[in-house]
């Protein structure tokens, strides 16, 4: 059990809080730049060198704008919703180890709450509260588009929480712990979880995209159909809080992907268990950056799903696959089979899911209308 030190913890909290906000703001700029390059444009380049100060300009704009609340809105809940969005997003970062963590109690732990045994449960518990922000925001706006966005979001997030939870069950079973630090430590000796759980990673990533309301699952705010979805009526700093929450969520899930499946701060030959903490920090930052860039790559590559396709994907594809994966892991753990068996099994499950395509075609005759 780790001792609780007041001042180091407080300083960590303040630093993380500021760093997350700044990074989230900066990610908006990165996203715009990447989007621009993918569309053969240049992107923001007017404010400061290479447009780097665009973040400040955007922030200033959000702060200085008039705070406007619609007359028919439920004022209390309307103001509460963005607060929930940002709070839950920030809070779930409390147990995420963002650097080296040690069993040595004297060393500095790169996590706000070290040694929390319910680790990943805490993250899921907090981040599933984020749906309230969207539902309440959509409802309190007293606007049809906002309402539709909120409804879609509630259905989507509740559906995708199931494959999200199921997909990490395999990792948890293999490790025998919910603690994110333990999960990282196990991967330094036993190999990264991606080799045993590639299917689970795929499912986790897909569900995480949906949880973050990122394209191709951004139906709650799909601009083309719903104006702005749940944040149609929001402006100024309240809107900024929603957006900030979304980006912080993105950072958190990127960290989770790295910690659960890609060995956290571990990297062969660069950051082993005995490496200096700075190497571990660099490695984990590099990996997280990769996944955030992947988020953006996906956003500007894949088109949005239709709502029934979205639901079909969660209930008909992701959940059965996740269940099959969990059962496979249970067999491996129970009968003490080498976990390497899980690699071909995972691929087998994935290919098997697509196997009905190989079935001989029934009713080869083209459909004819009845007279």
């Amino acid at each position: 059990m780790h001792e609780f030190h007041f001042w180091p913890t407080l300083i960590t909290i303040v630093v993380i809080f500021c760093a997350l906000q700044a990074t989230a703001g900066f990610l908006v700029y990165v996203e715009r730049k990447i989007c621009a390059y993918m569309q053969n444009r240049i992107g923001p380049n007017r404010v400061g060198p290479y447009g780097l100060l665009q973040v400040l300009a955007d922030g200033l704009k959000f702060i200085l704008k008039e705070e406007f609340v619609p007359k028919t809105a439920d004022k209390g809940i309307f103001l509460l919703a963005p607060c929930i969005a940002i709070t839950t997003a920030m809070l779930s970062f409390a147990v995420v180890p963002f650097g080296a963590t040690d069993n040595d109690a004297q060393a500095y732990q790169f996590v706000i709450a070290p040694g929390l045994d319910i680790g990943i449960l805490f993250i899921f518990a907090i981040s599933s509260l984020a749906v309230y922000a969207i539902i309440l925001g959509g409802w309190a706006s007293n606007n049809k588009y906002s309402m539709l966005g909120g409804l879609r979001s509630s259905a989507q997030i509740i559906s995708y929480e199931i494959p999200l939870g199921l997909s990490i069950l395999g990792v948890v079973l293999l490790t025998g712990s919910l603690n994110l630090e333990d999960i990282t430590w196990r991967q330094t000796s036993a190999g990264w979880n991606i080799f045993f759980q590639p299917l689970a990673f795929l499912l986790f990533m897909t569900s995480a995209f949906a949880e973050c309301n990122r394209l191709p699952f951004d139906l709650p705010e799909s601009e083309q159909e719903l104006v702005g979805g749940y944040h149609t009526e929001y402006n100024a700093f309240k809107l900024a809080m929603f957006l900030l929450g979304e980006y912080v969520h993105m950072i958190t899930t990127s960290f989770l992907m790295v910690i659960l499946f890609f060995g956290g701060w571990h990297f062969p030959f660069i950051a082993g268990p005995d490496a200096h903490w700075i190497w571990k920090l660099i490695v984990i930052a590099g990996k997280v950056t990769f996944f955030i860039l992947l988020y953006m790559l996906v956003r500007w590559t894949l088109p949005r799903f239709r709502f029934d396709q979205l639901m079909g994907l969660a209930w008909k594809v992701l959940i059965p696959l996740a269940l099959a994966n969990v059962i496979a892991v249970m067999f491996v753990v129970e009968f003490r089979i080498s976990p390497w068996v899980l690699l071909p099994v995972s691929i087998g499950i994935l290919v098997g899911a697509a196997a009905p395509a190989l079935r001989p075609m029934n009713g080869a005759e083209p459909i004819r209308a009845e007279q």
Partner: protein, 198 residues
Amino acid sequence: MPMKDEDVRWVKAPRMGLVEKLYIPAIMQGFQTTLKHMFSPNVTQQYPEEKPKLPANYRGVHRLNRDEEGRVKCVACYMCSTACPARCIDIVAAPSPWPDREKYPEVFVIDELRCIYCGMCEQACPCDAIELTTLFDHTGLSREEMMFDKEKLLSVFDQTVAAGTDPIRTRSGKLSIASEPIASEPIASEPKASAPKV
């Protein structure tokens, strides 16, 4: 009349194979496309710093051409204002102070806001006195400012010729046959007339 049954061809959506059903190869293909665009050259034109290179036949702001002696080339024949579908050209003719033509425009005003930039004035002009330039970003703070008078239109000529964006395209110096009192030589054999009009 309803469509005959044999004319209707029923098509079934093609079935997806195993690889397509996995979706992952298709997604990778999508990434390939976006990444390829990411590292290909940009098409952005940084507008205020970088002006577009417009083709010479671009139809922008008008200009009134000068002849070799720097006089206005126009002979106030009213062909342009007659051809103008927007009726934006207002000419007042006066007896010419110069011996080589009968009339010259005392007032020549084009309402640039009313103009539709169709270029029919340019086509109608018998002595190539009015031309449309590649100037496209003229602005004004009032409607009166956008009524371009003779001096303004001549200054557009000076400006565009000096800037080299619209060189003098037509026969310079000589006025056209419409204004020449003595037809010393037929226009077809005039060697200077061969300059192609773009």
